[in-house]
């Protein structure tokens, strides 16, 4: 969620200054970058306190990452003083994401319900002085311990991963929340943990992964190796013990002993079905098909390259996997995946054909007439399944056409981003296939051009959220959930936070039947999980959106106490 956005901003090559689609004047010489007029500069003041004790937190770093008028990246910051107070001056007007961090505490976004929740942006109008911003920092949790081998000897460079459940595309998934590597004493320390329930695994680290060495270590008939071990001592993720981290807790002695166990291997060969040469490097990984485990790379045992496209993946446990092969082709990342089932014996002679990519062309058309600037519209293909690898996207050309080159043969959901105000996607078709409901199956090639119709007549809904006492609730998460037959379509879900006066509004809604929910505190994406949604069904406010329609609803807040957390069970 927000972290992903940060990473994107921080990656220099990806950092792109997007401009709004206005036509600039064509006057004479360019002027140097205009500094903000002194009277328009803003300031931000507030205090950082300990969320548990309420005491001021000194030396906390408050950062503002922002977009000013023309969507440009700037960053300001200040350090809190002995009374926890901070002042950031000479800030350009614009919209900012604020966060506060301090060693010993969990980083907190401004306006977020908790450390792992999305924050809400702060908008600064020219000359505005924002005061009394309060950041309540939760003291961090720490987990520390030793990793030893079957002889009780410390293991160095063991990879320790701390995990918790999160919702990813509406599915409860184990995801990494922190990691560490052991030192020569076998010690590790994972810090800055948000209080909550965690699981921990330790994995032996093969040092010579690049080399495909023939192992001449004397051994018995069975292949033995190290597989990830979950605290307190099991190779089965389902048997992992819960580690409950309370605010400020330092849990020491979380020790893991690694034991060699009988493991399985997959041997195979990467082949080019066109009979041409193979790419110089192909990376082979195994990812669990169990959605709860798909976010863990722990199922990746070892990548071994060999001549002639042969490979061997070792130290595996039985299970259902996707074998992912990734490589570069003319500068573009390619990936294919194929299911592999590992029973109780090794798999040999697995053939992995590197299918040829497709070029998908298409057109975005506007329903009705009118001259619309579609300069910011992007069409994306998101691979369906547990992994995000292999996403393709393309910007529209001036005539509304687009071309997605070298798309992997896979199943996709089609998404359209950057639509003008109140537009919605009316239809997506490829030949006879309706891609709006079912997505696109490109595993057998492309069935012609992709035809996307967008309409300027999206529906709108606005309203307020009130808590059980009848007070208007700010910062509530309002979610528009499609009716039962359409809940697989994540594009139809919309979410927005109420503003400081408890108000919300949504636009660009596809006509249809929906329910509106307002949560005080909900994990991002949880509402796409049918299991999660079931107990709340009766608290949803039905709304039917018509083409170009405007609806208004007053919603009742679902209090945080009655909302289960994914990590809580």
């Amino acid at each position: 969620m927000n972290l992903a956005r940060f990473v994107l901003l921080a990656a220099p090559v990806l950092l792109v200054a997007q401009q709004p689609a206005t036509v600039s004047s064509q006057t004479g010489q360019p002027q140097p970058l205009q500094p903000t007029r002194p009277e328009d500069l803003c300031s931000v003041e507030g205090q950082v306190v300990n969320a548990v004790t309420g005491e001021p937190v000194k030396k906390a770093e408050v950062s503002m990452n922002g977009r000013v008028a023309r969507r440009i990246a700037v960053a300001f910051g200040a350090t809190s003083d002995a009374t926890g107070r901070f002042v950031i001056e000479n800030v350009d007007p614009g919209q900012y994401n604020l966060s506060a961090e301090r060693n010993g505490f969990v980083r907190q976004q401004y306006g977020a319900r908790g450390p792992d929740r999305a924050g809400s942006p702060l908008t600064l109008n020219p000359g505005q002085n924002a005061r009394d911003l309060v950041f309540r920092l939760l003291p961090q949790g720490v987990i520390t311990g030793h990793v030893v081998d079957e002889d009780g000897e410390p293991v160095e460079y063991a990879q320790v991963r701390v995990m918790r459940y999160r919702f990813v595309r509406g599915q409860r998934q184990m995801a990494a929340a922190g990691n560490a590597s052991t030192d020569d004493l076998g010690e590790y320390r994972v810090f800055a943990l948000t209080p909550g329930k965690y699981y921990l695994s330790a994995t032996y680290h093969q040092r010579n992964v690049m080399m495909e060495a023939q192992d001449r270590t004397p051994r018995g008939a069975a292949e033995e190796g190290y597989v990830p071990t979950y605290f307190p001592g099991t190779n089965d993720p389902a048997g992992a013990g819960v580690i409950d981290v309370s605010p400020g807790a330092v849990l020491s002695g979380v020790d893991v002993a690694l034991h060699k166990t009988r493991t399985l291997r997959i041997r195979g060969r990467v082949v080019n079905p066109l009979g041409e040469g193979l790419p110089p490097f192909v990376q082979i990984r195994l990812v669990s098909r169990n959605p709860a485990l798909a976010g863990l790379n722990s199922a990746v045992a070892r990548v071994v390259q060999n001549r002639g496209g042969t490979f061997e993946v070792r130290d595996l446990t039985p299970g259902a996997y996707f074998l992912m092969a990734q490589w570069q082709e003319e500068g573009k990342p390619r990936v294919i995946k194929q299911p592999v089932d590992l029973g109780n014996s090794n798999v040999d002679d697995l053939s992995v054909p590197l299918s040829a990519p497709l070029d998908v062309k298409g057109q975005v058309r506007v329903d009705g007439t009118g001259d619309v600037n579609l300069g910011n519209v992007t069409v994306g293909l998101d691979p369906q399944g547990p992994m995000f690898i292999g996403r393709a996207s393309a910007k529209l050309k001036d005539d509304g056409s687009f071309a997605l080159d070298k798309v992997n043969a896979d199943n996709y959901a089609v998404s359209v981003y950057g639509l003008p105000q109140n537009f919605y996607v009316k239809s997506i078709r490829m030949g006879d296939v309706d891609g709006l409901d079912a997505g696109l199956d490109l595993t057998r090639g492309s069935a012609g051009a992709l035809d996307i119709v967008i309409s300027p007549n999206g529906g709108q809904v606005e309203g307020t959220v009130a808590d059980p006492k009848g007070q208007l609730a700010s910062g509530a998460t309002v979610v528009l959930v499609p009716d039962a037959p359409h809940r697989e379509q994540s594009a139809l879900f919309k979410t927005v936070n109420t503003d400081t006066s408890g108000h919300f509004s949504m636009q660009g809604i596809t006509p249809g039947d929906y329910k509106l929910f307002a949560w005080e505190d909900v994990e991002s994406g949880a509402y796409q999980d049918l299991e999660f949604l079931r107990p709340f069904e009766s608290e949803g406010e039905s709304v039917t959106i018509r083409e170009g329609g405007r609806e208004s609803r007053q919603l009742k807040l679902i209090p945080a106490e009655s909302t289960p957390k994914s990590s809580g069970n």
């Binding site: 000013v68 440009i72 700037v74 060693n103 020569d184 001449r216 110089p280 001549r307 500068g331």
Partner: protein
């Protein structure tokens, strides 16, 4: 860092070769074996559960074997292909080492295994590790978490001795770091605050500059740390002090859009300091539609400021070196240019056209702190295409089965660029033509020590005569095997000197100042096409090692 990169380059290319060769039928040659015992160099106690790796060189370069030491530190690697090998050991609590190496980072003894040979009785003494631990603190003495601590050593990089990256650790929430598995030697430390979020302007204009142990931003003021085998150095604490940051302003010129500059990303990259392992810094910046930009929160240092625009299947780039001191930097002009395609043809004298299978072509920029190298696989007909070549000066290398070949000529259009390198600062015109020759010279020999005994693990270096000393590709080296023997192949015709050092830093001999002291000890060799020379070299003992210039 360049050394590290060079190593990775070569490793990668070797792997490419592996991937492309057809599976060969099992060798009919008699198999070999290596047996020995691993012991603690200080106590003599056996070292068990150590990971031993043998990897082939020369004709055996596809062979790799591994095993684990058992009781009494014994290891045995049966069923090996004959050929030449190097051997390394890894064990927790010890510094990683190659068998026979004089010190860390040097090549070890080459093990020559003739068909059917069983090499046994090796006693290998492994040095206990050294460890450095400490804290990174702010001026109030409070711990700073997630700080990158870099371990630095003087190394020869591009013929110059300079501080180079050789390991890293990261502080935890207690500000602690621990660097372990270290070999004896002289080290330096630096600490860098590498923020996850964008760098910006904090507390007015304050930021942490990279700081050398014990607390200076000037590499010349860095304090050396001497480590012996088994040293546990505690309390190597580094205090980070905030310094004033600057702004960098300028303009991006995009030839594609006369009116608006869109979709351009700007970044700063550290320049010229090999000890800085952080190449990219994510500074906050703003840019308007005219391409005017301003970067904020820049700590003093030497940088490249780079603009990149990606899209429509091509990448445009521009890059300028800047020096940031106390004041802001203005008027940086970044003129975006597309990367170009450079086509070429590789020919191997003595081999038919259509029979080029193993080769990889690489262009490496002559400024090592700019990571803009490009590579391509040579097709069977000898043609190759280097895509997205950015304007810069480059040297061309050919990797593959090339220890038997030498570069006979490299032409760019009508121009001979074998010695000058490729000047593509103004773009590309013409194609590259590379001729390799299999008719290089070969030298076989033996190294004798002061007692007239063959010396194993000596470093034999072939150094070209003036005026060709600046031609890095002409230097060749080898390590003697257990019989003191060495072989150097694929030597370009010309005059050379051969040296045999007991102990020499990698690349030191490319430094004219270093070599001056040894000039008289070199054995002159004149190499012609196809000449087969033999040599008996006198070892230059380690005691005669001169203190290398700083």
């Amino acid at each position: 860092m360049a050394g590290g990169f060079r190593f990775i380059w070569i490793t990668l290319f070797t792997a490419v070769l592996d991937a492309q060769q057809p599976i060969q039928p099992p060798a009919k040659l008699e198999s070999c074996s290596v047996e020995g015992q691993l012991v603690n160099a200080v106590t003599g106690e056996p070292v068990t559960k150590a990971e031993i790796t043998l990897w082939g060189i020369g004709t055996a370069r596809d062979q790799r074997y591994t095993t684990t030491t058992a009781a009494a530190g014994r290891f045995a690697v049966p069923d090996m292909e004959p050929g030449k090998y190097q051997m390394s050991a890894r064990k927790r609590g010890y510094s990683a080492a190659d068998y026979g190496a004089r010190s860390a980072g040097r090549s070890g003894t080459t093990l020559s295994l003739d068909p059917g040979q069983h090499l046994s009785g090796i006693v290998w003494r492994l040095s206990p590790q050294a460890v450095i631990t400490g804290h990174v603190l702010d001026v109030d003495g409070e711990p700073l978490p997630s700080i990158e601590v870099a371990l630095l050593q003087h190394r020869f990089e591009r013929s110059k001795r300079q501080l180079a990256f050789s390991g890293q650790a990261r502080t935890n929430d207690l500000g602690e770091y621990r660097l372990f598995g270290l070999s004896p030697g002289r080290y330096y430390l630096s600490a860098t605050a590498n923020r996850m979020t964008q760098l910006g302007e904090y507390d007015g204009r304050q930021g942490y500059a990279p700081t050398y142990y014990p607390g200076t931003s000037d590499p010349a003021g860095a304090k050396a740390i001497e480590l012996q085998a088994g040293t546990l150095l505690r309390g190597a604490d580094i205090t980070l002090t905030k310094t004033r940051t600057s702004r960098v302003r300028g303009r991006v010129v995009d030839p594609d859009s006369k009116q608006r500059v869109q979709g351009v990303g700007i970044s700063l990259q550290r320049r010229g300091d090999e000890s800085q392992f952080i190449f990219w810094s994510n500074f906050a910046y703003r840019i308007d539609e005219q391409g005017n930009f301003e970067i904020r929160g820049v700590v003093p240092g030497a940088y490249y400021v780079e603009a990149v625009k990606q899209g429509e299947g091509k990448t445009l780039r521009a890059r300028q070196p800047i020096d940031v001191r106390e004041s802001d930097v203005d008027n940086v002009v970044l003129e975006l240019q597309p990367g170009t395609e450079l086509k070429g043809q590789l020919r191997i004298e003595g081999r038919a056209v259509g029979d080029v299978t193993d080769e990889q072509i690489a262009l490496q920029p002559d400024d090592s702190s700019y990571g803009g190298g490009v590579g391509a696989t040579v097709k069977a007909d000898g043609s190759f295409t280097l895509a997205d070549v950015q304007p810069a000066r480059y040297f061309l290398s050919v990797y593959g089965g090339t220890d038997v070949y030498y570069q006979k000529s490299v032409r760019l259009g009508a121009q001979d660029v074998l010695e000058s390198g490729l000047d593509l600062t103004h773009g590309v015109s013409g194609t590259v033509e590379v001729v390799l020759s299999a008719n290089g010279g070969q030298i076989e020999g033996v190294v004798l020590n002061a007692n007239e005994q063959p010396e194993a693990a000596a470093t034999v270096v072939l150094v070209p005569d003036e005026p060709r000393r600046s031609q890095t590709r002409l230097y060749k080296d080898a390590t003697t095997d257990q019989y003191g023997r060495f072989t150097i192949m694929g030597i370009a015709p010309g005059g050379y000197k051969l040296f045999a050092w007991e102990e020499v830093e990698d690349g030191a001999y490319e430094d004219p100042d270093y070599l001056k002291a040894y000039e008289a000890l070199g054995e002159p060799k004149n190499i012609r096409e196809r000449s087969r020379e033999s040599a008996q070299l006198k070892l230059i003992p380690a005691e005669a090692k001169k203190v290398p210039p700083r």
